[in-house]
Subunit: 159 residues, 2 copies
Amino acid sequence: MSEGVEWGLHCCVTLAWLGDDRPVSTARLAAFFDLPTAYLNKRLQALVRAGILASTPGARGGFRLARPPEAITLMDVVAAVEGPDEAFRCMEIRQQGAGAELPERDFRQPCGIATAMRRAELAWRRELAGQTLADILAAAPAASADRTRRWFALERTGS
Amino acid sequence: MSEGVEWGLHCCVTLAWLGDDRPVSTARLAAFFDLPTAYLNKRLQALVRAGILASTPGARGGFRLARPPEAITLMDVVAAVEGPDEAFRCMEIRQQGAGAELPERDFRQPCGIATAMRRAELAWRRELAGQTLADILAAAPAASADRTRRWFALERTGS
DNA sequence: GTTCATATACTCGGATATCGGATGTCCGAGTCTTACCGG
DNA sequence: CCGGTAAGACTCGGACATCCGATATCCGAGTATATGAAC
């Protein structure tokens, strides 16, 4: 799994902490987490395309949450960054090669291996879909939110 | 997720169908599924290192299951092919960059995001660990096992 | 002092390089088979 | 005819290339802001 997932989640949490009053630029977030600015921007664009973030162009622009934290599940963020397709792709190798040349063979029944893997992945997705950003915020200590807010406020006035 | 997982699982199922009487060579399995022989061999070696398969070198050599199918879970095969580390690696980016330079900040409490992701991944692993090769065999139609056995027997006598 | 036009700086968005790991290939070590030779 | 021996063929195991996607970077489009001049 690409590290962009961690980036996206942390950025969403940070944006939730900072509130919707003003957008936050990529450079600010990248400085806060010590990440490559342009690449982080690319990932945030994916979140925008997924409808999780809203971007405002121009000076004093940046990103903000497009929805309230209760309406953003971890599954949404992961799917936006990693793409919609499943981790385990069944290539149906049972249908290829000499094993498939048996004339009487038919493949109407789905591959049992793919079914089992899909079941596990569904459990994973269900667990992620059951957790929202609001849950993460509630679990984090309030002091972390305060410190983060303070840092972003300081940086804004300091420049 | 690499496609080697699908290869390993199908090969394990096939080896379970064929029984333990004689080992099956990589070339035979690769021909059956139309896969690159040497690369499949590389992946089967990983299963050997994990103790899932047993290899017999020399002529008439090959692979066989090292344990009965009831004692091999899908999690075992996936972990053997994909490696032991988790899919989501928490890089602790919250501890890097300007956000970590606040002197009063401490990180004794684990990252809530990592905790949530770990929980989802544990659900995935639990689901995979709950399914054994025997379950896959039981779910598959008996005709498939018969056809596979017949093909491997024919190919052996035909050469 | 107020208003408007213009220059400017800042930010998002996508097109373009670069790098690491998965994918694919090849050759050597080891073992079983088998043919051959001697008794 | 039987046993021993040596050559041969087959297979696993690991070392060596190759390719694709994630990672990283750069430049253009667009907008809010600040500045200056005109009234």
